[in-house]
Amino acid sequence: MTINFNNVYLKATSTVAGKDEKEGNFGKLYDKTYDDYYAGEKTFEQSEVKMINDAVNIVFNKAKIKLENIDVVIGADLLNQITPNAYASVKFNRPFLGVYNACASMCEEIIIGSSLLQNKEISNVLCNVSSHNMTAERQYRNPVEYGCPKPKRSTFTVTGSASCILTNEKQKIKVTSATIGTTTDMGVTDIYDMGSVMAPSAARTIYEHLKDTNTTVDDYDLILTGDLGVYGKEILNVYMLEAYDIDLKDKHEDSACIIYQRKKQPQVKAGGSGPACLALVTYTDIINKMMQGKLKKVLLVATGALMSPTMNNQKLSLPSISHAVCLEVVK
């Protein structure tokens, strides 16, 4: 399902990140970084709320608009009941939508926000996305101090929060089209192997997007997937070729592979993950390059594993979802 948008632009973006991301490839590009997982708060969950608030304050300063001008706030994160964003939204005092599609949430938010902007009553939408390594680890796996040995294929949840303001005023970067993905299940049950879980849904979404918009891989300067990790990236390339006969060539990059310096940071194993992973890379490096004119048309494919420890304990496999958003530089 692909939607075309005529009047949706990206007004401003902001990113805040934790200490592991600070040591990563884009450490200097983040608007604010923290030296520990607490960010000056008492608990990890509260620090995630603080990160969202910080990111929102920064984005308002950059966009030079006030909170009153925001018509809808959309928030997404990994935790049950979308807790951090729900709690952060109390301070905003604006209409709030909480959405969840695991790590695919960032594109889901942009799709919902862009669709809302087709209404004339709505002119500015704020999209927040956050994840925190410790809170995610606590909820989905083991207690944080447990330090269970991780296999090479596992990924490391990104600590950070990113905000963007979508508007219907003309700006340099335009959201031109988006594809709503379909849930895919290829029978993978390994909770550490998220790359294998998400690659088929990413492939399907990319295929459908190219098909619906009548474009080929060559029309894009970059196809950036969310958090497949190094092995997931390879699986996607092979799967894309085998199942759809599409060669991604060197156009494909995976934000999980580039967000950290994997050689210097062995704890990240196969790369980053979490909804903030794609957002941190896109809102820093990719947006900068688009502003400088190095990239003109970028396809963002947020990949999410809809993992539930309960269902996994009941021996069910992990479904996955991917959404695609196309960003273009307009004159």
Binding site: E145, G147, P149, P151, M186, Y244
Partner: protein, 171 residues
Amino acid sequence: MLFFKLIKKFGINYQTFFILILVIKMDKESYKQMTSKIVPQENKLKNGIIAFVVGGLVGLLGQIIVFVLENNFNVPHKDATSIMIVILIFIASLCTALGFFDNLVSKAKAGLIVPITGFAHAMTSSMIDYKKEGLVTGIGANAFKLTGSVILYGVVSAYVFGIIRYLFFGG
């Protein structure tokens, strides 16, 4: 590949094309085969050796404690082993609380998880995790989150083997 080119030539629309692919080309089984070629396997031998050596060192430490207690403090052997277990649990819990035991575990693999140190660590780490949620609803309810099954099946198997021993070896 040839199969797809043929399908494209005959102009079947893409939904049918897609379903055909899922059914014929990429079923769950062949996908599993494909991913298993790419995703690396863990080096079980290396992990096993590390765990063997580290686990052995923990055992050695326990034995040294027992020796010291028996020879220097005149503690009877039966009490010395109990005291040794308490000491090891204390050391592991302290290291967990100071926040570096998890780094050791991720390097030493099962070598520190299988001995009594792992049990202490699992309990302490759960308790630290839920400290902020209160004494009863946090620490109390979650202390045995990871270790509850160890205790349950430990007690059950103790009963079973106790009965076997009573019936066949006369207690």
